[in-house]
């Protein structure tokens, strides 16, 4: 399996495709807000610029998504959820070294929006975990220069 660079367009496309394949996804998304923006904060020497992405769910699947040119677009989009964390924390979450609910409750993962709804759906985490396992991820801090 060819590794795809974390948070690149190709990586998001692959994760979205894997998530959309899961039969439990409609149940997990039911009752949640329509859209979400995620921001990976920059880290000097690893990630020179922050990365922001936006996605919208419809009919129980991720219907569309895009990488944002500018993080400020989120202000205009006003998504139901905005999830923001430094690069290292995202990496820990993706590698399952950190629990997302714990990270959100401790304030390390900053969540804007109905956190209660997300905590209630914590048991569906396996959908995301499975999708992430299906995509070989290349982390920028692990790439040999």
């Amino acid at each position: 399996m060819r590794a795809v660079r974390f948070a690149s367009g190709a990586w998001i496309a692959a994760v979205v495709e894997a998530v959309n394949r899961h039969p439990d996804l409609p149940r997990a998304l039911a009752g949640l807000g329509a859209d979400l923006a995620a921001i990976v904060e920059a880290e000097p020497g690893v990630l020179p610029r922050p990365i922001a992405a936006w996605g919208r769910q419809a009919q129980g699947r991720v219907a569309e998504w895009r990488l944002l040119e500018d993080e400020d677009e989120i202000l205009e989009l006003e998504p139901a959820y905005v999830v923001r964390a430094p690069y290292r924390l995202w990496k820990d979450l993706l590698l399952q070294r950190l629990d997302p609910v714990q990270a959100a409750l401790s304030g390390r993962l900053r969540v804007k929006g109905d956190l209660e709804g997300l905590v209630r759906r914590a048991s569906y985490r396996y959908i995301m975990d499975g999708a992430l396992r299906a995509v070989a991820t290349e982390f920028p801090d692990e790439v040999r220069r």
Partner: protein, 134 residues
């Protein structure tokens, strides 16, 4: 001295310990279905409380003629819209310059598939500009 370098005071240590304790407690609670419900309900209550507090704060600030968080948010939103419009316009100008320069219009001004801004739709029937929803 940056925020990171600042020595930790008693308050910081208490908050840190409290967070660690709450985080550990949450982990124990989250392992159980009822515990998960309890954590979710507590989070919901806390968020509602914060919202109410912000509402009161806004009323007080407006009463004394000062801008509240929502006013700043509105300005930030307008600035974000202006930034996007400027970006769109400069892209059009660049595309026009390319056409004017005789290099052909094919693909000019279009973002490559992997570039920020390129929209990816899993299902065409939902296609619309999300910025027009509100």
């Amino acid at each position: 001295m940056t925020e990171k370098d600042r020595p930790k005071g008693l308050g910081d240590l208490l908050v840190e310990q409290g967070l660690r304790f709450a985080s550990q407690a949450a982990k124990v609670m989250m392992d159980d279905r009822r515990g998960q419900e309890a954590v979710a309900a507590a989070v919901g209550l806390a968020q509602k409380g914060m919202k109410r507090l912000e509402g009161v704060q806004e009323q007080v600030l407006h009463a004394v003629g000062l801008p509240a968080k929502t006013d700043y948010d509105e300005v930030a939103k307008q600035m974000a819209r202006m930034k996007r419009k400027i970006r769109d316009l400069s892209r059009k100008v660049e595309a026009g310059a390319v056409v004017g320069g005789g290099r052909g219009a094919e693909g000019a001004g279009e973002a490559p598939e992997d570039a920020p801004g390129a929209a990816h739709r899993a299902a065409a029937p939902h296609a619309r500009d999300p910025r027009r929803k509100r």
